[in-house]
Amino acid sequence: MKYDLFGNGKVTFGVVVLGFFVLLAILGPWFTSTVLGLDARANDISAISSPPSAAHPLGTTQFGQDVLAQVVEGARGSMFVGFLGAIVGTVISILVGVPAGYFGGTTGNALNFLTNLFLVMPVLPLIFVLAGYLQGTGLVMIAFIIGVFGWAGGARTLRAQAMSVSNRDFVQAMRMLGESNRRLIFTEVMPHLYGWIASMFLGGLIGAVMAEAGLAFLGVSDSSAISWGTMIQAAQQQSAVLRGLWWWFVPPGLCIALVGTAAALINFGVDELANPKLRSGSRRVAKRTAAIRRTALAPEGV
């Protein structure tokens, strides 16, 4: 399985990119301040709104702040919200989805109903309103709000999977033998769901990074924190677009897109591994087939 997972180009690319950004979030700020000698918050009055140069590889903002240092610092903010939001969301979706699938009946139906309710609610506007009341709160609060309202999709998947596992013979048999539900859920059902949970976590991660960026763009954020979202918001507020300061708003958006692509590619690759029909649609299989066909037809033509 491990070999297969990394034999898949999509997964490898996604893991490398995601790993890079996690490292950047952890070590990046230290690196920029000590090695490059840049400070995300320092205002270099000699270089205001300057395009990329040797002193400032990605240019500076309207306030003379170094964009590269901000992007690195922003990685920490965005990834922090991403991870915390994904953890909160995943935990809730496990707490709702697994029992909904395992128990069925009234409990299951009630939990399923709750899931569907949150699924059809437009979550983003809801988060906007909630966060609007809590303006000026820190990134932790924002991550929690994102997680608390973004779990429904994952719970739906987990419910379906938990249901199919719980209906398998070995679980049914152990139930009949009087094994406790809690033990069954943790030792028999959950291990079958780890793959799905991991994939949901990745989905939650990118969802939270995007939601944070959206919130920051609306001006709902910790004013002292730096994230990719606050950078774009600051650029928008200072009319960076209308003044052509593209180096200010392009890098943070690109980072968000890269993290999102990495997470999506990992999920895509995992889907291919889980679904043989999808695998047969991969480029590699097509190429191999074509290669065999060519070698087979060559002697025939003679």
Partner: protein, 352 residues
């Protein structure tokens, strides 16, 4: 490659087109995998006479499903036909058409009018969002462009009647029919354009025993009525013994024995065939002793150098482990009861 040919290939050309409907010659199919390609079908050669029912029997993984998709050119990546010919001889007496290199357009014209297929699971074979009749109508009208919509629906109802499904069912969706009805409907569908050859892929595995008997009886009756030939693939030898005229036994992607149903049952030559026969209860005889075949089906990625059945064979000899036995004809190859087998046990009888 011509080593294992049962008879010289030129003989087939001599046969009048009206006698042979399908001539399969040296067909090999490979699957492109991560490592070396895996051969799922190797050098398969047989001939199908007009109106004949040829049974193909084998365990799962013996290559019988691969053979079906290769015969009908329905294979998908990563399966590739790497060598061989599948020559179809039209009843009209026109020259035979090799399906393997045929261009898609010409192939489409041939499909269903000459060559149709019945798949294993009728539930999956019918489009769930189209009315049953509409799935007849589209194929009828694509092959006969002069047919009006109303006439096509009328024809669909008539075809359903052939298999005992009432005409009003034509407007039903597949999920509204019972399993047996769906399977009979796919058989009626296969006959829609009066094909000369119908390939059936275990069409009775998904239905209960009573329905299975009914479907087999209908296939036999319809064959008498319309005279199409059948390649019937299954893992159930006892079923073929009742249905088929001749039976081909497949093992590890090769035909190991080919004989008339009666010969195969009475005097199986290959130890594998004997094992297969003894592991099924006969339908019309008292149950005596059932014996399974020890061991498990071969791994196609790592076949032994000699006979692939050698590791499981009760009569294994030294040379079986080194030399692959070719499929050789036993008796007069041109007589109707010609049979062939690929086994070293029968080598001596063949040496002139």
């Amino acid at each position: 490659m011509t080593m294992t040919r049962t008879r010289p290939g030129d003989d087939t050309a001599a046969a009048t087109p009206s006698e042979i409907v399908l001539d399969v010659d040296g067909l090999s199919v490979e699957y492109a995998g991560a490592g070396a390609p895996v051969r799922a079908c190797t050098d398969v050669t047989f001939q199908l006479r007009r109106g004949e029912i040829l049974g193909v029997v084998g365990e799962s993984g013996s290559g019988k499903s691969t053979l079906i998709t290769a015969l009908t050119r329905l294979q998908r990546p990563p399966a590739v036909t790497t060598s061989g010919h599948v020559v179809f001889h039209p009843q009209s007496g026109e020259p035979g058409i090799d399906l393997v290199p045929l261009k898609p357009r010409a192939l489409r014209a041939l499909r269903w009018t000459s060559l149709s297929i019945v798949l294993q699971s009728a539930m999956d074979a019918l489009n769930p969002v189209m009315r049953l009749g509409a799935q007849f109508v589209d194929v009828l009208r694509v092959h006969d462009r002069s047919m009006s919509n109303a006439a096509a629906w009328e024809e669909a109802r008539r075809l359903l009647g052939l298999v005992g499904i009432s005409a009003d069912r034509a407007r039903s969706y597949p999920h509204e029919l019972s399993g047996g009805m769906r399977q009979r409907a796919t058989i009626a569908l296969a006959l829609a354009c009066r094909p000369e050859l119908v390939v059936m892929d275990e069409p009775t595995t998904a239905v209960d025993v009573v329905m299975q008997r009914q479907i087999l009886a209908q296939v036999l009756r319809l064959r008498r009525e319309f005279g199409f030939a059948v390649v019937f693939v299954t893992h159930d030898l006892s079923l073929l013994l009742e249905l088929a005229d001749r039976i081909a036994v497949m093992y590890a992607g090769r035909i190991v024995e080919l004989a008339s149903a009666e010969d195969l049952y009475r005097t199986p030559l290959h130890p594998y065939t004997r094992g297969l026969r003894d592991s099924f209860p006969p339908l019309h005889a008292p149950v005596t002793r059932l014996e399974g075949i020890p061991g498990s089906p071969p791994d196609l990625r790592a076949l032994p150098a000699g006979c692939p059945f050698a590791p499981r064979c009760p009569a294994v000899m030294d040379r079986c482990r080194d030399i692959l036995p070719p499929l050789l004809s036993h008796g007069d190859p041109d007589s109707p009861d010609a049979r062939s087998v690929a086994c070293h046990l029968h080598d001596e009888e063949l040496i002139p």
